[in-house]
Every structure is written in C-alpha cells, then in structure tokens.
C-alpha cells in the first residue's frame, strides 16, 4: 500500500528584543548563569509583570508577514504546569485569542508552489535552561532565558514530506530574519521546532494517529526525524499494528527516536486569563504602522531580481535567501552595470569564503565599492581572471583595496607583446614533445602550452594574448 505522510510544525522563535517580555532584564545570549534575572522572571510572589511593547509589535509583524489576521482584542493567559525550568509553575502564554490567526506561507518545492496554512502565532515567554550533563545526581537551573519573549508559530497539517518541512523552515527563517524579529539561530536555541507527524493510506480522508517529535536541533535533524518516524509508523501499520499517540524524543547521533515516558492522562494546563496583565486592544492604525515597517520579502525580491536584473531564478533565489546578501548585491548593482557578474562572484568565491570562515555576511571586510573596483580591474585587463581570485582572497582576509594589492604584489597582467613572445619561445624550447604533437595534429597540446605559459608568468599573462602568440609561433 502507498502511504501519505502528514506533517504539522510548531516553531518557537525567540524575539530579538533587548529586554525580556515582562521585565527589564537583558536577553543577551551566553551570559554567566542567573545574572540576567530579577524577581519578575524568577517567579517571586507579588511581582507585577508588564508587557514589552516591542515584543507585541514583533508578534504582529510576524503575523503580517505570514498573511495572518491580527486580533483587534487579545489577552495573555496562564498555562499551568510543573517543571524546574519554570519557576512560577505557570507560563505566560496565550490560549483562546492569539495575536495572529489564519495565515499562510507559500513555499516552492521542486518548482511547485505549495501554500501551507498557519493556524496561529501567539506570544509567550521562554523557560529557563536546565543543565543536566555534568552532574550525576542533580540538575542545575539557569534562569537567564526565563521570560525571554517567544512566538510560537503553529502550522496546519499541510506538509507532506520531510523535504517540504525543510523548505518551509528555511523559508520561514528567511522571512523572520528579513523582518528583523528573530535571529533564528538554531544552535543558540533561538529557533526550535517540534514536529507532529502521522501517516495514512493514500486517498484516505481521516488523519492517522500522530506522534510529536521533540529535540530537533537542526533542519537536518528535522528532515531525518521525519523520514525515520514516517517509516516507523508505516511499518507498524503494515504489520497490522496501531500507532501510539505519544511524544518521542529524537536522538540525532543514534538516528532514532525514543518514546518519552507516556503520561498517565493528558496534561491539563488549566489555562486562565493572566490577572496581572490587562487586555490588549490593537487598532487598525497600529497594524498599518507596523505593516509599513515590513521590507520587501524574499519571494517578492526574487521575482524582482529576475525581472529587473535579468538574473536566472536560481541566482535570484540564492541572493535573496538572506537579507544581508541581498542588500550587498543591491549596493554592488548600483555601482556596476553587469548584475550577472556580481551574482557569479557572490555565489562563487564570496559565499565560499563566508562558509569556510564561518562568518556573517555583515562581517565580510570587502566593501561593495572594493568588489566593484576588482571587476573593473578585470574588465580593463589590468589583471587576469585567475589573478583576480587571488586578489579577492586577499581582500577577504584584509579588507584592502584591490588596486593596492595588485600594486604591492606586482600582479598586473602582462600585456606587453614582446615580453610574452620571449616567455613563449622559452616554453616552446622546453617542451619540444608538445610542439611536435601539435604539429602532428594533436590540437590538445595547445592547452598544455597555454598552461605552461601561464605558469611561467605566475598567472599574470593575458590569456588571449598568450593564445594568439602561441598559435603564431607554432605555425612558423
């Protein structure tokens, strides 16, 4: 039998506000444990939380970018449960009136556009961090993260494969970064994802029994966990069994998921309105003000790059995948008339070095002005293509002006005919076999001789000129 996989995601993104959701403690990542805490965020009795306006605005902004309806009247609720990372034993969250509802996100998978429904986005606070590993008999609690604002984005069960889930997450991350509401660093836990997954025989209307997968710390883990879980559920059904509704924990190094201890009965969170926080009214004017702050989003930008700059879809997709890269490209395009050349360099050596050195695009020391200077050095034949690569690497390391590098290292292209003739005569004298091969009709030998000439000039010879002179000399 053929099975269809049905996937829904719950994505938590930490908002990039400076201070926490309900108090003034810093949200900065990586501080010494329990140094960014106060009575409000460690859950002391009698304190008064106050909503961070920016956190609410970021939630609305995310809702608008994901085509949601924004509630005009909303409130915060208490979600009650006991866990050592939640000092107040209740989390301030939202229950029946989330800030955003009924949105969607279009994703492109294998050239096909798929519309994925967004059920809701709500604002809540993060819990503290538990440190288990280094202590045998105890767990330590660091509450720096407690009270950091989060949005939870819940999709409809519209995703149908691991690939779709991965593309959805990539698209979502790119949008949240574009609109500057979250830095979405999975390795720092500012983007987290739980996956609900079930399978059903193809054509069946009812959903199968779903399991929830936790502890997915990378997009790759999400992909692998879905593949694993879908196969696990299918084999259970194939053998005539039934899938248990449960929460499972993904172990990425083992490549397997494990059942987390099943609860005796369903968790009852006993939600009720948070009495310490008055309700929130959001008027049209406020929503429109926030809408104005939303920049051109990646999908629109990609379309514009194809139309305005004549770039291939593929190039436009890569250049717009990050706002920093797109901004960089646009600064270059203002200074240089050939967008495809810029695109080639950015997608090639530029991104290669960014990845190799594992740095942010905003930290690349090469300015658009200097990159364009490099292009102009190539165009005016001052340096050859291969030399340009060397110069670029140096620029990437030092941030120096390419003209200065060319000058300092004497990398100027040799265009002097007489000088090249001398070099070539020497190359021919040293390679009589290749010369003979060429004369016997082995035209490939020419390539070898060009290579030898380039080598002899340390890559500085003008390749066209080398070709031309070589042909002349060989025909003599």
């Amino acid at each position: 039998m053929k099975y269809e996989v049905v996937i829904g995601l719950e994505v938590h993104a930490e908002l990039s506000t400076q201070s926490k959701a309900f108090c003034g403690c810093s949200t900065k990542f990586g501080a010494v444990p329990n140094t960014q805490c106060c009575p409000v965020c460690i859950g002391m009795p009698g304190v008064l939380p106050v909503i961070n306006k920016k956190a609410l605005e970021y939630t609305i902004k995310a809702g608008l970018a994901l085509n949601c309806r924004i509630a005009r009247y909303t409130k915060m609720d208490r979600k009650n449960y006991f866990y050592p990372d939640l000092p107040r034993a209740c989390q301030i969250s939202q229950y029946d009136v989330p800030v955003c509802q009924n949105g969607y996100l279009d994703i492109v998978v294998n050239g096909q556009t798929r519309r994925i429904g967004i059920n809701r986005i709500h604002l809540e606070e993060d819990a503290g961090k538990l440190l288990h590993d280094q202590y045998a008999d105890s767990t330590l609690v660091d509450l720096n993260r407690s009270g950091v604002p989060l949005i939870e984005i819940v999709t409809e069960p519209d995703l149908r494969s691991a690939e779709e889930a991965k593309v959805f997450l990539e698209t979502l991350r790119s949008i949240l970064r574009y609109i500057d509401v979250s830095d979405c660093k999975m390795e720092e836990g500012s983007l987290r994802c739980d996956v609900n997954i079930s399978v059903r025989p193809e054509g069946q209307k009812e959903f199968g029994v779903r399991t929830e997968m936790k502890n997915l710390n990378s997009f790759r883990a999400v992909y692998r966990a879905i593949e694993y879980e879908a196969n696990r559920q299918i084999s259970i059904l194939e053998e005539g069994g039934t899938v248990l509704r449960e929460t499972r924990r993904w172990d990425d190094s083992a490549g397997k998921s494990f059942s987390m201890r099943a609860k005796e009965h369903a968790q009852d969170y006993r939600y009720f309105p948070e009495p310490d926080l008055p309700p929130i009214e959001i008027d049209d004017e406020w929503v429109e003000e926030i809408r104005k702050q939303i920049p051109e989003l990646p999908a629109q930008k990609q379309r514009r790059y194809v139309e305005e700059f004549g770039l291939p879809e593929y190039d436009a997709g890569i250049l717009t995948s990050s706002r920093d890269l797109a901004d960089y490209f646009e600064r270059c395009v203002k200074l240089y008339e050939n967008p495809k050349t810029i695109s080639n360099w950015l997608m090639g050596d530029f991104l290669r070095l960014v990845n190799e050195k594992n740095i942010e695009i905003s930290d690349v020391p090469v300015t658009p002005e200097n990159l364009v200077k490099l292009f102009k050095l190539i165009d005016s034949k001052v340096i050859s293509g291969p030399i340009a690569k060397t110069v670029f690497e140096e620029m990437f390391d030092t941030g120096k002006d390419p003209e200065a590098i060319v000058e300092e290292k004497g990398l100027k292209q040799i265009t002097d005919r007489d000088e090249l003739v001398k070099v070539i005569k020497k190359v021919l004298a040293e390679n009589p076999k290749s010369v003979e091969d060429y004369k016997n009709g082995k035209k490939k030998a020419l390539g070898f001789l060009v290579g030898q000439t380039m080598k002899a000039t340390k890559g500085k010879a003008n390749p066209q000129l080398v070709n031309e002179i070589l042909l002349e000399e060989l025909e003599k």
Partner: protein, 97 residues
C-alpha cells in the same frame, strides 16, 4: 441548578496542583467548591446578550513598557531564597526525561 463537585474532582485538581489532602479535607473542599460554583452560577440567570466577556476586572488596557534593559538583580541576593545552590545555579533533583 446545583452543581456537585465530587471527591474525585478534588483528587484530580489536587494532583494537577501537586497537593496532598486527607479524606476529611477532600470532603470539605468538595463541599466548599460546590458552594462557590453554585454561588457563581447565579450569574447564569442574568441576561448577558451582547455583553463582552470580562477578561480583566479593571477597565484598563494596553499597559506596556518600552524595550529598555534595566539592571538585573545581584546573583547572590537572587539565590538567597534558593533551597540549594551550586555553581551559581539553583540545584534541583535530577530531572529525567
């Protein structure tokens, strides 16, 4: 319309809130909770057609703070109330997953 809160309901709530009660207490709370709910249920007799649900008892709304970082509390003072401390953290019994 009288609503009865049973001892079973009390036991469910007690477990959710991590309370332990004696049999006598359970009986007492079942009666007390029933009385409270019945008292509140009298509101059902009022015609509330067209009245917005009350979310908050005071007529305030939109109380916000600006996104400004304020000094946090000194860690030594913060941890003074903790039952157990290690390496600048609260120490709790091992949490198993």
């Amino acid at each position: 319309m009288a609503v009865g809160i049973t001892v079973k309901d009390v036991e469910y709530l007690a477990e959710a809130a991590k309370f332990e009660f004696t049999e006598e207490q359970k009986q007492k709370f079942a009666q007390a909770l029933s009385d409270i709910i019945n008292a509140v249920d009298r509101l059902a007799e009022v015609d509330t057609e067209g009245v917005q649900p009350t979310i908050h008892v005071l007529s305030v709304k939109n109380i916000f703070r600006e996104d400004v970082v304020l000094p946090s509390m000194d860690r030594d003072i913060l941890l003074k109330n903790a039952a157990d401390v290690q390496d600048g953290c609260y120490r709790v019994p091992k949490v198993v997953e």
